[in-house]
Structure formats: C-alpha cells, structure tokens
Symmetry: C2
Subunit: 213 residues, 2 copies
C-alpha cells in the first residue's frame, strides 16, 4: 500500500446528524437532540452535547440488536468494516429487494455489498423505503458475504420477526444502515465504516466513506 | 492502491466509551450516559441511547471550539483526517511538550503528527496529563502541518487563554484528542479519524485507526 494519500478520492457516504434529519419510520425517540454545554457568552470554549438512539443516521448494527446473546461492538474486528466493497445498483426495485432481484449479480465469500436503491433519490426514508426482503437476506447470507449496507435507516421494515436482520446476523454478516449513495456509481471501492467504540452496545454511529481505487 | 484489503494491519487507537472512562479533568458533565431504549424483556429489538458532551473520548476538534467564527464539522475535508501520518515518541517528556522537545524531530508541510506520551502508560488522563505547551503548538503551526493528535483528552491544560488550541486553529491545523497509542511504535502510518458528521458542531467522536504500510 502506498502511503501517499494526497491523490486519494474520498467519497463521503454518511448522513448528517441534525434535529430534522430523517429517522426510522419517523419515530420521535430516534430524533437526535443537540444542545450547547458552553458557548462564548459565558465561557472561553464552545462545546456541544448530543443525545441519541444509536440507530440514528449512518450506523453499524451488531447481532445483539436482534439476537439476545448476540455479540456487541467491542467484539467487531475492524477488518470487517475497513475492507474492499462493492456497490450494486438496485434502483430498479420498487418495494423490496428479493432473492430474484439479487440473482442477476454474482457474489463471492467475504464480499461487503452496498445496496444502492431509490431511497437515495426519493423522500421515502421515513415511510415506504426500499428494504432487503427476507428472501434477499437469506440469499446473501448463503453467499457468505461479510457485510451488507443500505441507503435506508433499516435494512428491513414490515417484517415483524425481523427475519432479514436475523438471517444476516446468524451468518455473521454485519449490517450498515443509513448510507447515502446518491452520487456513488456501481463498482468496487475501499470501504471505511468503523463505528464509534461503545463496548456492550449493539450499534454505533460511523462516518462511512469510500475510497476509489 | 490495491483493493485487496485482506492483508492490511489495522491498529485501533480509540478509547472505549463507557460510564467509567477517563474524561477531561474528571469533569462529571463529560462522562457519557448510556441507557437502554428497548430490550428483549418488552421488545423484539435491543437498542441503546447515548448522551454525551462531544469532547468525550476519541474526538476531533474544529476551530469553533475556541474561535467564535471558527468553522464546524461539515466544512472538514475528509482528506484532512484520512491521510498519511507520523507517530513520534515523546514519552520522555514529564510535564508538557515544548518547542525544544520538538526540535529534535523534522517536520514538513502537510504532515499529520501523533504525539505519543506517557499518558498512554500512566493513570494521569484526568489529572496531570502531558500536554502540548503553547510554544510547542506555535512550533508545529509554523511547520504548516495539517493535523496533530495526542493521547490526552485535551491537547492542553492549565493555559487559561487556550493558546495551544488557538495557535493550531489559526494555522488551520485540526486537533485529534483522546487517542490510545500505547501499542503503537514510532513511525509512518495511514490514519483514518473521520468524525461523525454533525453539522454545526465544533467536535465529534471518531473511531480512529492506523494502517501499517
């Protein structure tokens, strides 16, 4: 690896965290609260405080999110999320990504796949966002990929048993949610999506970016 | 750049965020609060909530922290913090890093320098941590480096005018605080310290790591 980083093209794929950002299904408790701990009216330093549910914005889920004895963030190897990845274009999907939709692509063991959908272009993140159907999750889990990301605030919705999360977690596939892929072309990249280190937690925010090879 | 990432050596240099972690000068309002929004006793999903001052743990400061019209996080180019860097060994310094301490090293424009001190080895993070003296900050600013990191929760202490922060910010040097460098040898690395994207904020947590070339 060349240590000369001046020529790297770094592509930010993270959502800005703001009070008015889209949150999963528009749930109020998912909206972050930002407040000021000190400013220059009474202090020589400006300091902000953040309160938020850890499934807000761009974040990584680990298995405890859906599986009672699932592992938590301190167990995550960074090599799972600092890795080659592939963005695939699923903007043709209307409602949910099924196994049939995925069969037109080839996958290999250890891939990290980012699903680019029409969520990146339409104002549907809090409502009828495109998600990974349980058949699609099972398909990817059987391909033994190591991670999957999506431009939605949840990898699934409207599946009461959370089958998509559970299929993926049971096959040790990490899940990256809340990506912004509008300006990202289908293809191969280096992904960095290292979550803030919160031991015992089932999720944490990440500043995710891609590097163009 | 080779897209094969299997052989990368990734070195985590981030502090775990926990209730009992060290915080700047032991200030209670800097201690993070973690709570549970839902668990399996009443829900099918486990979700954690975090509340914290953004200067807790491993984080990046931008100029608004100390300069009233300083820029905030959304203005930060990721190439500032995803970059070649150099770790220098200052474990010989007892109290504060001065210009004299730094004169034994060579620096060039655009360097990102990580200061490894005895903070990484001793239980002094909340009290008498080694810091970058204003003379050392001025020295580095004049070398036109682009960033500086330290294994302390503040780049300075006991300087009421915050001269170290201000010298650095006025020369457009970003500041990375709360690193863990105990296991990191002096030398060159690729640094990734991309902060969570919080527009308008003067700081944000980052999962910082190094890649060994």
């Amino acid at each position: 690896m060349n240590i000369n980083t001046d020529a790297l093209t770094i592509l930010d794929i993270s959502m800005p965290i703001t009070r008015l950002m889209p949150v999963y299904k528009g749930k109020e408790h998912k909206r972050p609260k930002l407040s000021i701990d000190s400013d220059f009216s009474s202090s020589s330093a400006y300091e902000t405080r953040l309160e938020m549910n850890l499934h807000t914005g761009t974040h990584l889920d680990t298995p405890l999110h859906m599986i009672p004895d699932g592992y938590t963030l301190e167990k995550l190897e960074l090599s799972k999320v600092v890795t080659a990845c592939r963005v695939i274009d699923l903007t043709f999907v209307r409602d949910k990504i099924t196994d049939v939709d995925l069969q037109k692509f080839t996958f290999k063991e250890g891939d990290f796949i980012l699903l680019k959908t029409r969520n990146s272009f339409e104002d549907i993140l809090e409502t009828d966002f495109v998600y990974l159907d349980k058949s699609g999750a099972k398909f990817l889990a059987e391909k033994r990929i190591k991670g999957v990301g999506i431009d939605a605030l949840g990898i699934e919705r409207d599946q009461p048993g959370h089958e998509s999360h559970i299929s993926l977690f049971e096959s040790d596939v990490v899940i990256l949610e809340g990506l912004r892929l509008k300006d990202i072309e289908e293809g191969e990249y280096l992904l960095s999506a290292a979550p803030v280190l919160i031991p015992g937690a089932e999720a944490a925010p990440a500043r995710a970016y891609l590097i163009k090879p």
